[in-house]
Symmetry: C2
Subunit: 225 residues, 2 copies
């Protein structure tokens, strides 16, 4: 069928192979198909048909998205965690990977709750950092949010967390087990607040065509009320 | 070997199968391996060994990273492009996907040059937007940068661009073929500039442990000089 499809003007053929049908993979590879992306139970394979041009396809994803939370309680103490499976002593901010289809703010709320038991709400974005050559040669974007605790009772995750505690900000930023980058961003967040700079994440439905609209979260610099 | 590895305390076995060895894929699938991720010429498969716990693995990437550029020349005119392969008339900002391992600013410089022939340099981040349910059920993060043109001669890409031109900002934001979201972010960018808010992207080498350092780009709100 491949030569027929090429004659009909098709430019790319896609096959989504379920892992139950894995016997198809070597057959498609034999026919000149390449891999594009995969998840647990399938691999997507493609073949670019025009012999006179290079494939013009979106790249497969190479960015992991994570989120960290700088959570303050009513006394302006900061929530610090010490995670399991670390080789060195540390006090870091709760956080983790954003799940497929999840909003950044929702991921931060979920991670804080899972790791520490604390309910928190979004206040402001502090920064994001973009780093290459991480696992599997992918890059990371790690977004750090300032949040306000709604509850402050600590019930650390047995699976992920060794200890968590509310720390005075001065103690956190001078603690020898706090990484200098975390120290820097906590200071930066407090300075933004003093300057009344709220890096908000707004949600809006953006309509691109008559039949195509998407909820979109975007950064907007505003003021704290 | 699988039961032996499990007894030895290994938690996860990985196989990177080159497409030339695609015959291995159905054999591994038969042994209970799943897919994790794939690129053109390989698929990564894994098997989680402990029978009493769920896999605790980083998810495969589900975020596409793109960049758009709001390029102003010396007269403060804005660079607008009309791309090929669009179904409706539009004036958009040049931009495209960030490549694996590429910095956001470098990607913007490259896309502006490729699409329009213009050399430009970074001035400030304007916003990013995060949208779900895009191609292959992945999400997009699209970062929009304000840039300053170093050259202003237009040599549009024959492959990607129908037309490009320098437009008066007032003409751009009132043009019927400019999307309301683009109108909004151009106005927002000009307002930030008036407030002297520069959303800088700084690059710094961050050392995490004695043997582990990474160049990291991060957002920092500063002032225009």
């Amino acid at each position: 069928s491949l030569s027929k499809w090429a004659l009909q003007g098709y430019r790319c053929i896609w096959f989504k192979v379920n892992i139950k049908d894995a016997f198809c993979v070597p057959i498609l590879a034999q026919k000149g198909f390449n891999f594009h992306h995969a998840r647990d139970d399938f691999v997507m394979m493609y073949k670019w048909l025009p012999g006179d041009s290079m494939p013009n396809l979106p790249p497969s994803c190479h960015t992991n998205l994570g989120v960290g939370a700088m959570v303050f309680n009513d006394k302006d103490d900061l929530l610090a965690v010490s995670e399991k499976h670390y080789e060195y002593p540390h006090w870091k901010l709760p956080g983790g990977y954003v799940e497929r289809g999840e909003d950044i703010i929702d991921a931060a709320v979920r991670e804080v709750k899972e790791e520490t038991g604390v309910d928190a709400k979004f206040e402001s974005l502090v920064t994001f950092r973009h780093t290459h050559n991480m696992m599997f040669e992918n890059s990371d974007i790690y977004v750090i949010l300032m949040m306000k605790a709604i509850t402050d009772k600590l019930t650390p995750s047995l699976r992920e967390v060794n200890r968590c505690q509310w720390m005075k900000v001065e103690d956190y930023i001078t603690h020898p087990h706090v990484h200098q980058f975390n120290r820097f961003i906590v200071e930066t967040a407090l300075e933004y607040k003093k300057r009344n700079l709220k890096l908000n994440i707004q949600k809006r439905t953006v309509r691109w065509t008559a039949n195509y609209a998407r909820d979109t979260n975007f950064l907007l610099v505003e003021e704290f009320k």
